[in-house]
Symmetry: C2
């Protein structure tokens, strides 16, 4: 046990309230056992930290007003843009495309949507700027406060398919208090490739069990768990809009379940 | 000109005081011209941001008290440890060693110094912990305030041979407000290899002239300047201790000259 792990363990024990019910104490102790060796929290970003859908819709609507475009359903547009994300990354993961950063994949999908949604009113400058909406996504309301609390005990990093500049500019604008930007661009693999989840273990000379993946998506957590990382599911019911509420994850599968980052901070004793 | 560059230019012009003397205005305008396209400031770290020598001496002295070691001159020890840095990196740069992160190079040098300085009282755990003193270096007194001011206008990153975990833990402890950690470990090359200086241009899709290298060492700035980066020399006379005051850089060679980060912030209009 390193000195830092020892200190973390002491801090966590001290964080348990003596007023918890017996059951509450047992649950908290079980959870503290899961977290006691964790040094780094890795956050999925799109959907888990930031509300990509509302942000893309809002920028689309602003652009439409500026360009006098009235025929576009920007919610459908946002969903279609996000819908192109997985397939475009799969082409890179399968080797059909060489390594291509997410900004360029977003632009490839945008160029298709400009045709499909008849957006020929947009200039090249408009499209180049709109493509960077993914650098300007707004965080969920609890994100900055929750992360700030968690930062007092853990090293915090995004672990996102967003490229380095995307994650850096997003954090600067939204005041996300990351300690280090871990983009999958650094290893030139997209999630769920194993290289992405193990990057922090390599950089920080840690076992995977000292890392915890925090995500709103079961697939991301399953891939992390299979490699030995701890896992925390954070439920983001509104990620896909009011018509498609995201389900909760099945219980018993992950180390932590929380409704937002503030609740996760409480569960982790900070 | 991007929207961001335009905004930066306006902000900079607004930062010029109308009370400056004519000569002052001209100097400030010349400097604003140099900085107007700059979006990212890249900081050499050891010696430029943090005072490695005093920090290593202080930890050595604490360790000596704990272990009842009385025969070591810790200033000489610190200088010897730092003295092994360049030669060990050169072995990696020349291909005599495969890529090896700085923590391991520091440990290789430490193991030699343990023999040379007769430190057999140190256990393996002592040595492993002492090796991480490079993650715990104290910043120069102006660093956090100066960086915080500069962060309001620029993206800030270390560009250091320190590995990712070293720079991350240093920043967390010392509250250095980086936007992104750019370690040369990310490109597996040590400065002054060109890959290190051009990393940010690649990540952020920028020309080298949109980057400014900030360093207390002429060699670092010369290598950056040769690749088209802007340069700022910050004088750190005490880096090598009272007996070896570091000289100022020759005038006219770099874009900016400052005595500390607060003065640099003033020159850059923030």
């Amino acid at each position: 046990m390193t000195r830092r792990e020892f200190v973390s363990g002491v801090l966590l024990s001290g964080g348990l309230s003596p007023l918890l019910s017996h059951t509450g104490v047992e649950a908290a102790q079980a959870q503290s056992a899961s977290a006691s060796g964790v040094r780094i929290l890795l956050f999925d970003t799109f959907g888990t930290v930031v509300d990509w859908r509302s942000s893309v819709i809002a920028e689309g609507q602003r652009l439409a007003r500026a360009k006098n475009i009235t025929h576009v359903d920007w919610a459908a547009f946002a969903d279609a843009w996000r819908g192109g994300y997985g397939p475009s990354m799969s082409r890179v993961r399968k080797g059909e495309l060489p390594w291509t950063k997410l900004d360029r994949l977003h632009r490839m999908v945008l160029d298709e949507l400009v045709v499909k949604f008849k957006l020929d009113a947009l200039s090249e400058a408009d499209k180049a700027d709109f493509n960077l909406v993914w650098h300007r996504l707004d965080p969920w309301p609890d994100a900055v406060e929750g992360l700030t609390r968690l930062k007092s005990r853990f090293i915090l990093a995004p672990l996102s398919n967003g490229n380095v500049s995307l994650l850096t500019e997003m954090a600067k604008r939204a005041k996300l208090p990351w300690d280090v930007i871990l983009s999958t661009e650094l290893v030139r693999h997209y999630k769920p490739d194993r290289e992405t989840y193990l990057m922090a273990a390599d950089f920080f000379d840690l076992q995977p069990s000292a890392l915890m993946m925090v995500a709103a998506h079961a697939g991301d957590l399953d891939a992390a768990k299979a490699l030995g990382l701890k896992t925390a599911f954070v439920h983001r019911p509104h990620e896909f809009g009011p018509a498609k509420p995201a389900p909760k994850a099945p219980p018993g599968k992950y180390d932590y379940y929380a409704d937002d980052f503030k609740q996760l901070a409480g569960q982790l004793g900070v």
